[in-house]
């Protein structure tokens, strides 16, 4: 009798099948930097920082909540005041901001990788084994000289031209003043 009872242990899984077997989860994270198929790192100079925007997309049937975290890379942290992002179904432009800061003493040529994880926060319950989706993504960072940095703007290059013009103008004004002064003296 005892044996029959034991072999008769059942999992009641039918409810789960009815509730969830048709559910589809779909999401992605777009990144502006990568290391494959080519090397496309974020380039920053020592002491520089930049906020990198990753883009969450939800093309699934249901609204999602995604929890973000930095899982690797001492130079990076989440820049947003939250770490959970509501991504409605159809939303393809939910930004996640990561601040990357290069130490001042970093050496040019050093390379880092920033790892971040994105976990779907499940709002549903039930079923025998409920499953959620997640991503671990990464992007490379390279320490470069100031002029190679992504932040470098050629137009902001220090130019001496304005100073030269200012100097010429000043000399001109002084010359005019001297001439006028001499004329006054002569008249007297």
């Amino acid at each position: 009798m005892s044996k029959i009872k034991k072999t008769g242990i059942l999992f009641s899984a039918l409810i789960g099948v009815i509730l969830f077997s048709s559910s589809i989860m779909a999401f992605g994270i777009a990144l502006p930097y990568w290391d494959s198929p080519d090397w496309r790192p974020l380039k920053l100079a020592p002491g520089e920082s930049k906020i990198v925007e990753l883009t969450l997309q939800n093309t699934g049937e249901e609204d999602m909540v995604v929890e973000a975290s930095i899982t690797g890379g001492s130079i990076a942290k989440l820049s947003d005041s939250k770490n959970e992002y509501s991504v409605p179904s159809g939303e393809i432009n939910e930004k996640v901001r990561i601040k990357v800061e290069i130490p001042k003493d970093a050496k040019i040529g050093e390379r880092y990788k920033v790892y971040s994880s994105f976990h779907e926060v499940s709002l549903e319950e039930g079923g025998m084994i409920k499953m959620t989706g997640a991503f671990t993504v990464n992007f490379p960072v390279e320490v470069v000289g100031e002029e190679e940095s992504d932040l470098f703007k050629p137009s902001e290059k220090k130019s001496v031209l304005p100073w030269i013009i200012l100097g010429v103008l000043l000399i001109g004004l002084i010359a005019i003043a001297i001439v006028k002064n001499k004329k006054k003296i002569k008249k007297k």
């Binding site: 242990i9 059942l10 048709s22 502006p32 080519d38 025998m128 409920k130 671990t136």
Partner: protein, 304 residues
């Protein structure tokens, strides 16, 4: 005698002046043909050169970096300008074409870019091209072409745009279930797998980790089926797959998610299938329902 000689020379000169134009006009040929019965007309090659300046493409709008759209297309619209020194009216309004090209990738194109009214020597064309979610990340060349009404063509491929990286996935079903399982049953596959994971982005060679948790009895909370009782693999029923470890991300051996058009639905192009197996249950647990409700859902994680 000398006088006669002069007359002969003068006669020959006059004769030459009279004959040369007739000969060059084909007069004698005509007479010959009339006499011989041959045709009086003949074909001749005419080579007429009419002045035409080939158009040039003088401007291609800069396209900023674009994100792929998960499981869909990203529509990119841009303009380019064709200049023809013969005037915009000389440009073939139906000739504007644009291509996005990358080595090893399918070229995306608009073969009927729409034109705006010409102004002076210039005519603008507007092109719209869809990039697919599985198109490779990196720099794509923007190639534009146009022609004038004399078939002289212009081409410009001086610009590129960046197509970003998109790790993306679509997964179904999102729960696993089993039929009734007895204490002595072993190697029982889930009744609703495989879980089909589609690569809905353009990242390549992704691995798949599963973080699993013990299942708790829904009535008797002290009974468990342990995560270690399950294996997950890429072949049915998953019973020779990777053993799960409680609360630990475990890479499913051999599972890989490649870049590609998953609509082909062949189980490998942009797609991976994973199967779950219950190897057996602890021998001292009671008959009841067990689920992931207590310790949380299992996580299928795509690792880029």
């Amino acid at each position: 005698m000398i006088k006669r000689g002069k007359e002969v020379v003068i006669f020959l000169i006059v004769l030459s002046i009279a004959i040369i134009p007739l000969a060059s006009a084909g007069f004698f040929d005509d007479i010959y043909k009339k006499i011989t019965g041959k045709a009086t007309s003949d074909t001749t090659a005419l080579n007429i050169t009419i002045g035409n300046s080939a158009p040039t493409i003088t401007y291609v709008q800069i396209i900023t970096s674009k994100n792929p759209t998960d499981d869909s297309t990203t529509t990119i619209t841009f303009n380019f300008t064709v200049t023809d020194t013969d005037g915009a009216g000389n440009i073939d309004t139906t000739s504007g074409k644009a291509y996005f090209q990358k080595a090893g990738e399918t070229t995306r194109s608009d073969l009927s870019c729409s034109n705006y009214d010409g102004v002076g020597d210039n005519m603008n064309f507007s092109c719209t091209i869809d990039m697919w979610y599985f198109d490779e990340n990196g720099d794509w060349t923007i190639n534009t072409t146009a022609k004038d009404i004399n078939e002289a063509s212009a081409e410009n491929s001086s610009q590129t745009f960046t197509y970003n990286l998109l790790p993306g996935m679509k997964m179904a079903p999102t729960s696993l279930d089993w039929d009734s399982v007895g204490l002595t049953d072993t190697d029982t596959g889930s009744n609703n797998d495989p879980v089909i994971i589609n690569n809905t982005g353009n990242d390549n060679a992704l691995t798949i980790d599963v973080t699993s948790y013990d299942l708790e009895g829904e009535d008797t909370k002290t009974d468990y089926i342990f995560a270690e009782n399950f294996t997950i693999g890429i072949t049915s029923q998953g019973c020779s797959g990777t053993a799960m470890v409680n609360e630990t991300a475990t890479e499913v051996g051999s599972a890989i998610l490649n870049r590609g058009n998953h609509s082909i639905n062949d189980g490998s192009t942009g797609q991976e299938e994973i199967f779950s197996c219950l190897k057996g249950v602890p021998q001292d647990i009671s008959a009841q329902s067990y689920s992931s409700a207590a310790f949380g859902p299992w996580t299928i994680e795509i690792v880029s």
